[in-house]
């Protein structure tokens, strides 16, 4: 049987033409993952801007915080028979409508701005007014929450009156503090819009945060309504 003698394989070190990207440019993420040899691997044509990933990461942390409060509430309620049930101040239901309305106005403004940004057509509608309305509704919500706290205090129900009130104040105040952060974000968005330097990712991230605050409030209302 004839034996074929193969040459030992030689590896000719070849050079890949280095591809240089301008600094301060598009950067990376999941975009353009070009491996050695030029073959494409798992290419996505766009990577999410950091703000849109960052906001989800932030919301995950806030979710964990309220999950911790929720589990504390459930454990503490089951721990001793000292839980005092009470009717939630009725203004909270009105506040819920306010915060839902604020999400709607924000979404109107965001969509108008998004359409404007993506097609570069002449601006239609009045997104700035929708954003202003959202800000006003947000402030109204905070005022309504403050009214609820004052109302309870006036009735003699303070933070330490009973553990159920403690949880009521802790949950609603913590939510309000986070919501104030959202109001700060809205003010920033409006400011940037006025200066025409608003990025779409900033607008989207702020909107997402605001909508989350609304959903979180509805969750808290349901929790408090069921447990208090």
């Amino acid at each position: 049987m004839a034996t074929t003698v193969h040459d030992s394989p030689t590896i000719a070190p070849t050079k890949i033409e280095p591809e240089r990207l301008p600094s301060h440019g598009s950067g990376g993420g999941w975009r353009n993952l070009v491996p050695a040899g030029g073959e494409l691997r798992r290419v996505k044509d766009s990577s999410p801007p950091p703000a849109s990933t960052g906001i989800w990461v932030g919301l995950a942390a806030i979710t964990m915080t309220f999950a911790a409060f929720t589990s504390a509430l459930i454990v503490r309620q089951g721990n001793a028979p000292d839980w005092h049930h009470f009717n939630l101040p009725s203004i909270l239901y009105l506040n819920s409508l306010v915060i839902v309305a604020s999400s709607l106005t924000l979404e109107m403004g965001r969509r108008q701005l998004a359409a404007y940004m993506s097609t570069a057509r002449t601006q239609e509608g009045a997104p700035a007014r929708w954003l202003d309305a959202t800000l006003a509704l947000g402030l109204l919500f905070v005022a309504g929450q403050t009214f609820a706290w004052l109302q309870l205090r006036a009735q003699g129900f303070g933070l330490a009156t009973n553990i159920s009130y403690s949880f009521f104040y802790v949950l609603t105040v913590t939510h309000a503090v986070h919501l104030l952060g959202g109001l700060g974000g809205l003010v920033r968005v409006i400011g940037k819009l006025n200066q025409s330097v608003l990025k779409r990712s900033t607008l989207n991230a702020t909107s997402l945060y605001w909508h989350f605050m609304g959903v979180l409030w509805l969750y808290l209302l349901l929790l408090l309504w069921m447990k208090l």
Partner: protein
């Protein structure tokens, strides 16, 4: 329309001293700031441990000047039992939060994660700056506890309720001391959440062209996994601290039960759950252990690979194991509460995943050992400390097998056995990871080399010293030596006092050995030999392909493009024994990811 500008570094090079060195947005400066903070905290924490050890060895010995620290806690320079507990609490808290969390994760991660991913900076530099300064404020608030009436809290770093929640009647430091503690930790949580946000987003969104996730070095993976744990764990500890503060200052009853009598007085609180604090705390506390150690796993792997000149047996399995450790860390926290009065079924439910978690830990160790086997490891201070890390991780981990079982843990939990276990596996191991990282990355961070001879001496003394201190703890624990006692006067404990004296001497000597490190660090920073090149260890990852120290935007005028897996060493046909990630040489090892 895609928003490209979102990727660009949102800040230019700073011009003023304040913006450059104090309130800097540059992740590299922030990383160094974290390192400096951790160094100061480590010195404070170690000093406190010395005071404790001297007291345990020679309880009646006056420590000159101690009354200056606290006139009520150390009248006549001899510490009171309460003051011993206060120092112990501060030692644990400062070490866990301000050293083991800040140095391996926040310090090295801040400096090197963006560089290893090929980013110009983190995506939210203002948050990053806030992250450090918030942590700094947290440290000041914690230290302030030494100066409030009655000094710091004595409740231990775990601050179990109801002792932590009842206020001044609980003893010295249980009033303002606890408030300082809880406020400091809540502030610290904010800092770490902001940091984690940046770490996660950097890893997911800021990678340079060609840098797929699997092409990230193991150190970057360590920081990424840790940041995910940090995000979820600190987000739970913060609300727990808020509730604790409210029990103090507002008179609420989250953690204080009804009819609690302290000193003939019935406390006004009703119905609080003491176990609730433990659940909230340990849901954070166990992941925190991994927050301290997982960056070390990454750093040590990275250092060893460079010094072995070959990759680990499996890059992927190592990453998956670190991920499994992180995921399991949330399911095992109840093993800290076996002695808290737990349903046996719950004990089983927590015991099982605790035993399961030894599987990924063992896989990591086996990959290290298998990769080291037969390798021609370069012996230098960094690789020695990496080997020391593995040794401590194994020694401390083995005792974890015992403690994972409730029936054994009940006997050992409140003894020095546990103290020995966690000091080896998360304390000393994590410190060795920090040392390995320091010796390895110092040239990149400063442009100068650390003294190798002093580094090796530092390793030998630290390695022997750490075992002399912490191995006898296991013996003490098995002999029934209860922990947190400030004196051993019972008949069965008196024969153990010589062991404590031995440990004290070892702790003092090992502590002094750290002066070698500190002086080496400071001397080398200013007078050390200049780094011979940008890549003194012939490494492959991106930090070695940029200038030393790296420019403001990390890579100068052009962004790197990655063509290779992170650890291409000794590849057949290559012109050198290492192929950098940015190398355009079209030679690949057979196992390079396709």
């Amino acid at each position: 329309m895609h928003d490209l500008s979102a990727h660009a570094v949102p800040h230019g090079a700073p011009t003023s001293f304040i913006r450059k060195h104090v309130f800097s947005l540059d992740h590299k400066v922030i990383g160094k700031q974290y390192y400096a903070l951790a160094l100061v905290a480590a010195v404070v924490g170690m000093f406190l441990s010395w005071l404790m050890r001297i007291h345990l060895g020679w309880g009646s010995l006056a420590i000159p000047g101690l009354h200056l620290l606290s006139s009520s806690g150390a009248p006549g320079d001899v510490m009171t039992p309460e003051y011993y507990l206060q120092l112990m609490t501060m030692h644990g808290t400062i070490m866990v939060f301000f050293v083991l969390t800040t140095a391996p994760f926040a310090a090295f991660g801040n400096f090197f994660l963006p560089i290893q991913t090929g980013a110009e900076d983190m995506p939210f530099p203002h948050f990053n700056m806030m992250s450090f300064w918030v942590t700094f404020v947290a440290f000041l608030v914690m230290i302030a506890a030494f100066f409030v009436p009655d000094g710091p809290t004595l409740g231990g770093w775990t601050q179990y309720a109801p002792l932590s929640a009842i206020g001044q009647v609980g003893g010295p430091g249980q009033g303002w001391g606890v408030v300082c503690w809880a406020a400091s930790i809540a502030i610290f949580c904010i800092g770490q959440l902001l940091g984690s946000l940046n770490f996660i987003t950097t890893t997911l969104d800021m990678r340079c062209k060609g840098m797929s996730l699997m092409r990230l070095p193991l150190s970057a993976w360590g920081w990424f996994i840790t940041s995910v744990m940090g995000l979820t764990a600190f987000a739970v500890l913060m609300p727990a601290c808020i509730l604790l503060i409210l029990d103090h200052v507002a008179g609420t009853s989250f953690f204080v039960p009804s009819n609690l009598v302290i000193g003939d007085h019935v406390l006004p609180h009703t119905g609080g759950s003491t176990l609730l604090w433990q659940h909230l705390f340990w849901f954070f506390g166990h992941p925190e252990v991994y927050i301290a150690i997982v960056p070390g796993l990454g750093i040590v792997s990275h250092v060893l690979i460079t010094n072995m000149r070959r990759p680990m047996l499996s890059h992927r399995v190592l990453i998956y194991s670190m991920g499994a450790l992180a995921a399991l860390s949330y399911m095992v926290y109840g093993h800290h509460m076996f002695v808290s009065g737990m349903n046996p079924v719950s004990s089983l439910a927590f015991s099982f995943p605790t035993l399961v978690i030894t599987i990924p830990s063992t896989i990591v160790v086996l990959i290290w050992l298998g990769s080291l086997y037969g390798s021609k490891l370069r012996i230098n201070a960094a690789s020695l400390f990496s080997l020391g890390f593995i040794s401590m991780f194994i020694s401390g981990g083995v005792s974890g097998f015992f403690l994972a079982q409730p029936s054994i843990d009940i006997m050992l939990h409140a003894t020095y056995f546990v103290v020995g276990h966690f000091h080896l596996v998360m304390g000393v191991a994590a410190m060795f990871g920090i040392f390995a990282g320091t010796y390895f990355w110092f040239p990149k961070m400063t442009g100068r080399m650390m003294n190798e001879g002093l580094g090796k001496a530092h390793f030998i003394l630290s390695f022997i010293g750490a075992y002399c201190i912490f191995m006898p703890f296991h013996y003490l624990g098995i002999a029934g030596n209860v922990r947190r006692y400030q004196a051993f006067t019972d008949d069965y404990l008196i024969p153990l006092v010589p062991v404590h004296k031995f440990i004290t001497v070892a702790a003092l000597l090992t502590g002094f050995a750290q002066l070698i490190f500190v002086s080496n660090l400071i001397y080398s920073r200013f007078r050390g030999e200049l780094a011979p090149s940008d890549n003194p260890w012939q490494g492959t990852s991106l930090e070695w392909s940029t200038a030393t120290p790296p420019p403001h935007n990390n890579f100068g005028d052009t962004m790197p493009v990655v063509y290779h897996d992170p650890y291409q060493y000794s590849v057949e046909g290559a012109s050198t024994d290492f192929i950098m990630q940015t190398s355009t040489e079209n030679v690949h090892s057979p196992d390079e990811e396709k």
